[in-house]
């Protein structure tokens, strides 16, 4: 009966070896224990002895010297004289034993190295929450620079602060109870070591598991959006020193431009709004007044980069959202208009992504449609300034010199709120003055 010759395993973990060559020729009679072929394993090259007896026949796909072969591969058979091997009598051309060739370098596997992914660090519980909230963690900047994304960094549909040096220190228990009761730990002063917030530091002082206060029937549930807005507002209040300057600009040129653009814009396209025009002017001005578009980082200030990205406050049915119009300075007014129109629509339909609300340098907000003239907008921390537009209406102005009396012209009320930690009054006023000048000559 024919005896199979296969590549043996030399050592425990060997899966393949390098076939070095036959020590017998096809047709040679082989006796048990005679060296049959040479195999290079993990540790050494070894002469493999025959277990069986018979005439050597090489398998049709028998390896060439130097070839890497898997353990178990059939390389030949020992047959009784006159017996035909399993693959028939057509034996392959015998291979002259040669010195073992160099082991071929394994070809690089296509795509073997996955691109290095700078994966965001986050605890399993935060990852789970992010999944549930439909948030891509890669889009979230941890509040603790270089740190892990924490639960409070997961802010659906709200401006996400780029960085902060305020790390919230609270025990897991305090975090859990705050979560269950809807408490904002940023509001809590920790009494533990290093300001750590513990259960006993939480406002109600109620032990965990105590029944919550009774909720009136007509209570309005606080939505996540609302809670997010509240957090952002409180953050601004806690972090910034806001000062508001107000002035009015002659809106004649602005109105004329708006009327002209409305006329000239082809049907189906979006005519630029006052917002768009103001965004464009602000973008140009921030180049001259970089401080107004900077970001405060405690030990340094980050000025605007190449792309001037501006926030535009939108009153959506579910609450305030602030989408960001990108690269306002380098793009045309028509492009800005198309962009902002789309972002506003998305905002109203709650379809904005976190990315679309991240990274503004400066924000424009408007209460004009409601007849408001001046107000105190809240600075979207960590930005350092925000401009509020009021309603355009006729104001009495003195007649040109030499004439007594008043005339009326339409004016745009502007409220600039800035963070006095970063910007002093005069530079802010200069920015506002320059803006008024540009509004008045627009066109």
């Amino acid at each position: 009966m024919a005896v199979e010759i296969r590549i043996p395993r030399l050592g425990w973990s060997m899966e393949e070896g390098t076939f070095a060559g036959w020590l017998k020729k096809p047709g040679d009679p082989v006796r048990p224990n005679e060296p049959l072929f040479t195999l290079e394993g993990e540790k050494a090259t070894q002469e493999i002895e025959s277990i069986g007896e018979g005439v050597l026949h090489l398998a049709p796909n028998c390896p060439q010297p130097g070839q890497v072969v898997p353990v178990g591969q059939l390389i030949g058979q020992l047959c009784a004289p006159g017996e035909t091997p399993a693959w028939g009598s057509s034996a392959p051309t015998p291979t002259t034993p040669e010195p073992p060739a160099r082991k071929p370098e394994p070809a690089p596997k296509p795509g073997a190295l996955p691109p290095l992914s700078a994966e965001v660090a986050a605890s399993p519980s935060v990852r789970r929450l992010a999944r549930q909230m439909g948030i891509d963690l890669n889009q979230v900047t941890p509040a603790w620079p270089g740190g892990r994304v924490m639960e409070h960094d997961l802010v659906p549909g709200a401006p996400v602060p780029a960085t902060s040096h305020n790390r919230l220190i609270a025990t897991p228990r305090a975090r859990r109870i705050a979560r269950e009761r809807g408490l904002d730990l940023m509001q809590v002063r920790g009494g533990g070591p290093g300001g750590r917030i513990r259960e006993r530091d939480l406002p109600t002082g109620m032990p965990a598991g105590a029944p919550p206060a009774e909720i009136p029937d007509n209570a309005i549930p606080v939505t996540t959006r609302r809670r997010t807005i509240a957090k952002a507002m409180v953050k601004s209040r806690q972090e910034t020193v806001p000062v508001t300057l107000t002035t009015r600009a002659d809106a004649t040129a602005l109105l004329a431009l708006r009327a002209r653009l409305k006329r000239e814009t082809p049907k189906g396209e979006i005519a630029p709004t006052f917002n768009d025009m103001l965004l464009k002017l602000i973008a140009d001005l921030l180049v001259e007044h970089p401080l107004l578009g900077s970001r405060w980082e405690e030990t340094y200030i980050v000025p605007p980069g190449d792309s001037i990205d501006l926030g535009l406050a939108v009153d959506a049915p579910t609450g305030l959202v602030v989408p960001v119009v990108r690269d306002v300075r380098r793009r045309s007014l028509a492009e800005i208009a198309a962009d902002s129109n789309e972002l506003v629509e998305k905002g109203r339909q709650s379809r904005l992504t976190a990315e679309e609300m991240r990274g503004a340098l400066f924000t424009l907000t408007s209460l004009g449609p409601y007849g408001v003239e001046f107000f105190n907008p809240v600075i979207p921390w960590p930005q350092v300034a925000i401009l509020g537009m009021g309603t355009i209406k006729p104001q009495p102005v003195p007649l040109p010199s030499g004439q007594d009396g008043f005339t009326f012209r339409k004016e745009l009320p502007l409220s600039l709120t800035f963070d006095h930690r970063v910007i002093d009054g005069a530079p802010a006023a200069r920015f506002l003055r320059d803006l008024v000048e540009r509004v008045e000559v627009i066109g």
Partner: protein, 661 residues
């Protein structure tokens, strides 16, 4: 007058040797085909020994063997299919695919196991003999081992114990002249093994291991001696393995082709065949017929094994412990029960269990007439005599290995170490053998081995009488570890240890042996893995075992005066550990301190801390704190000793800080 087997007996010897030879050669081919996933040590050339010895054994007699154990398993009656399937890693293998070449188990036929470690089989066979002597059932135990085992302490300890207690054991040394690749001439001062028996007061024989009839005859006399109560025999069978140490290994770096060829010419099968024809009236055709039948039997077995299914991944960790056969619940404690000491409580448990279970026997130094260094067996020798209260030579590895074999053969050994520091001398037997047997045998062997000893620092016992080691022991799958702190727990847990089927390390803190507490009379069993809440509290949880639990209770008392209620938990068993009770407490209190006497790294306190972080993270209101012993060997001087040991003021202070932070 030399006896010889009858005609049928001769044919059987021939057939068994052929079964071994053809199975091994089939396995060698299968190894080359890649069907064998790990090592494969063949028995080719040595077939006469297993065959000649096992011819005298019944299925009730037991065999313990080595990494080269295929031949012993087959000679003991294992079908080739079960062996081949095992090496293929199939669920139909004799060890259900858990063992491979070196771990063959078939308790059903008395094949109690082979081992990848050299020499434990000597001690296990000694233990098997001990169990049979205790049961007075006339069975014998045989150890097969190579020349590599005879320069190992287990050989000395095992032969000595078998000799002094006249145990029914066969020690079969297969001197194939190489311990893997080290020649025996370089490993031993004398070339022969058999004559070493004289040093122990045992009969020793030196026979030609390639002559099956010589082996058969020597074994016949040895089995007769064993069954007649005359004790053990050492038989050295001189032989040679004619294949490499393991399949796939080169063979001619340490021996020559000529040597191998010379020994092949002395093939035990060929030799027997000629003698059967020349001296016993067999025909060549008759013998070839036997061989042809064997060849087809082996081929069929290999084909079936190739078709056999692999084990289910879900079973990868079943049978680490014995399945509980009955539910155990703890009775509510009776605080008005009589007060007895910790020592009295464990003695009561052992006394009661030994009275009702005659499979229990105790091994140790001074536990016989003397009644134990710590009065652990006081009064028992008078009741049960020396076989059940066995004073041992000082050879911890030896009697732990003996306990292993005795449990495998049906007894219930109690090893009394006196000091748990001595456990370390038996470490290999505990970790590699006792702990793994139930798993490796797929639950077919039970391992009711109780290993007990004193632990703990105090009274200047110094470094070799102060260790605790339960952290280390609890890392070993297959062991349970109990560290009781009260007399009641000690009695209840010891009773459970003596009734369950798992190996148990029962560690008693020496400094609390004389503490008193209420213990119910009569039956009291406490299951493992159920913590006891020693004191209720709300401000913080403290977890500790043994003596440290006493200190924690005292510290909690102090804190109570300051208005802080500390919950004190005693897990009672370090393995299994009742994580749920601990986590539940921390969910309530939000704070955890773990106090542990041994050094901290990778210890019990670290384990408790980790499980609380896993299971109660969102309830922690402060970092988990640990107090552990200083990581140093225990010093002698009281000043130094006190320094390395956690004390009550430190625990009290740590709790004060913890409840405030």
């Amino acid at each position: 007058m030399v006896a010889a087997p009858d005609r049928q007996g001769l044919a059987n010897l021939y057939r068994t040797m052929l079964v071994i030879r053809h199975t091994e050669e089939e396995l060698a081919r299968c190894h080359q085909r890649g069907l064998i996933h790990g090592a494969c040590h063949t028995y080719v050339g040595q077939e006469a020994i297993a065959t000649g010895v096992c011819a005298h054994l019944s299925p009730a007699d037991v065999v313990f063997s080595t990494h080269r154990g295929h031949g012993h398993a087959l000679a003991k009656g294992m079908p080739p299919f079960e062996l081949i399937a095992e090496l293929f890693g199939r669920v139909s293998g004799c060890s259900r695919g858990r063992g491979g070449s070196m771990h063959l188990f078939s308790p059903e036929i008395g094949m109690l196991g082979t081992s990848g470690i050299v020499a434990p089989c000597i001690l296990q066979a000694t233990g098997g003999g001990y169990a049979f002597q205790l049961a007075q059932n006339n069975q014998v135990a045989a150890a097969f081992f190579g020349d590599g085992a005879v320069n190992n302490g287990a050989f000395h300890e095992g032969l000595n114990m078998a000799a002094i207690w006249k145990l029914p054991v066969l020690f079969i040394c297969e001197n194939n002249q190489f311990a893997t690749e080290v020649p025996f001439s370089q490993a031993s001062g004398i070339p022969d093994v058999g004559r070493r028996a004289a040093n122990y007061g045992l009969p020793g024989e030196e026979v030609d291991g390639n002559d099956v009839l010589a082996v058969w005859e020597a074994a016949r006399r040895a089995v007769e001696r064993a069954r007649s109560g005359s004790g053990a025999t050492l038989i050295e069978c001189k032989t040679y393995r004619t294949r490499a140490h393991a399949e796939g290994m080169g063979d001619f770096t340490y021996r020559t082709r000529e040597d191998v060829e010379a020994w092949k010419a002395r093939c035990p099968i060929g030799t027997l065949k000629s003698r059967l024809v020349q001296e016993h009236g067999f025909t060549t055709e008759e013998l070839d017929g036997i061989e042809a039948a064997v060849v087809s039997q082996v081929r069929e077995a290999r084909e079936r094994a190739e078709a056999a299914p692999a084990p289910e991944p879900k079973d990868a960790s079943t049978h680490v412990y014995a399945e509980p056969v009955r539910a155990v619940t703890e009775k509510p404690a009776d605080s008005n029960a009589r007060q007895i000491t910790f020592s009295q409580a464990t003695l009561e448990a052992l006394t009661e269990e030994m009275a009702v279970n005659d499979r229990i026997f105790v091994l140790g130094e001074g536990i016989g007439v003397r009644g134990g260094n710590f009065r652990t067996t006081a009064g028992l020798f008078d009741k049960h005599g020396p076989r059940r209260l066995r004073d041992t030579p000082i050879c911890e590895r030896g009697f732990v290995g003996l306990a292993c074999g005795a449990a495998m053969a049906g007894a219930r050994p109690v090893v009394d170490f006196m000091f748990a520091d001595f456990v370390l001398d038996g470490w290999g037997e505990i970790v590699n053998q006792i702990a793994k047997m139930q798993f490796m045998s797929s639950g077919r062997l039970k391992m009711p081995v109780l290993l007990r000893g004193c632990i703990g620092i105090g009274h200047s016992a110094a470094t070799h009488h102060s260790g605790s080691y339960y952290g280390m022991l609890a890392q070993v799958p297959g062991l349970w570890v109990a560290v009781p702190s009260t007399p009641r727990d000690a009695k209840g847990l010891l009773k459970h240890a003596l009734r369950c089927d798992n190996p148990v390390l029962f560690l008693e803190h020496r400094e609390i042996l004389q503490t008193k507490g209420p213990v119910e009379e009569g039956d009291l069993e406490i299951p493992f893995g159920k913590a006891r809440i020693a004191r209720n509290g709300t401000h913080a949880t403290v977890v500790a075992v043994g003596r440290m639990n006493h200190l924690c209770l005292a510290a909690a008392e102090e804190l109570a005066k300051e208005g802080k209620q500390i919950e004190v938990i005693d897990p009672r068993t370090v393995s299994p550990l009742d994580g749920e009770t601990i986590a539940q407490s921390v969910r309530k209190t939000g704070r955890l301190l773990v106090v542990d006497e041994p050094a901290g790294p990778c210890g019990f306190a670290a384990e408790v801390a980790a499980l609380v972080v896993d299971q109660a993270f969102d309830y922690l209101d402060a970092p988990v704190r640990r107090i552990t012993g200083v990581a140093a060997p225990t010093p002698y001087s009281p000043v130094l000793e006190q320094t390395v040991l956690p004390d009550q003021p430190r625990i009290t202070q740590a709790l004060r800080t913890l409840v405030e932070e």
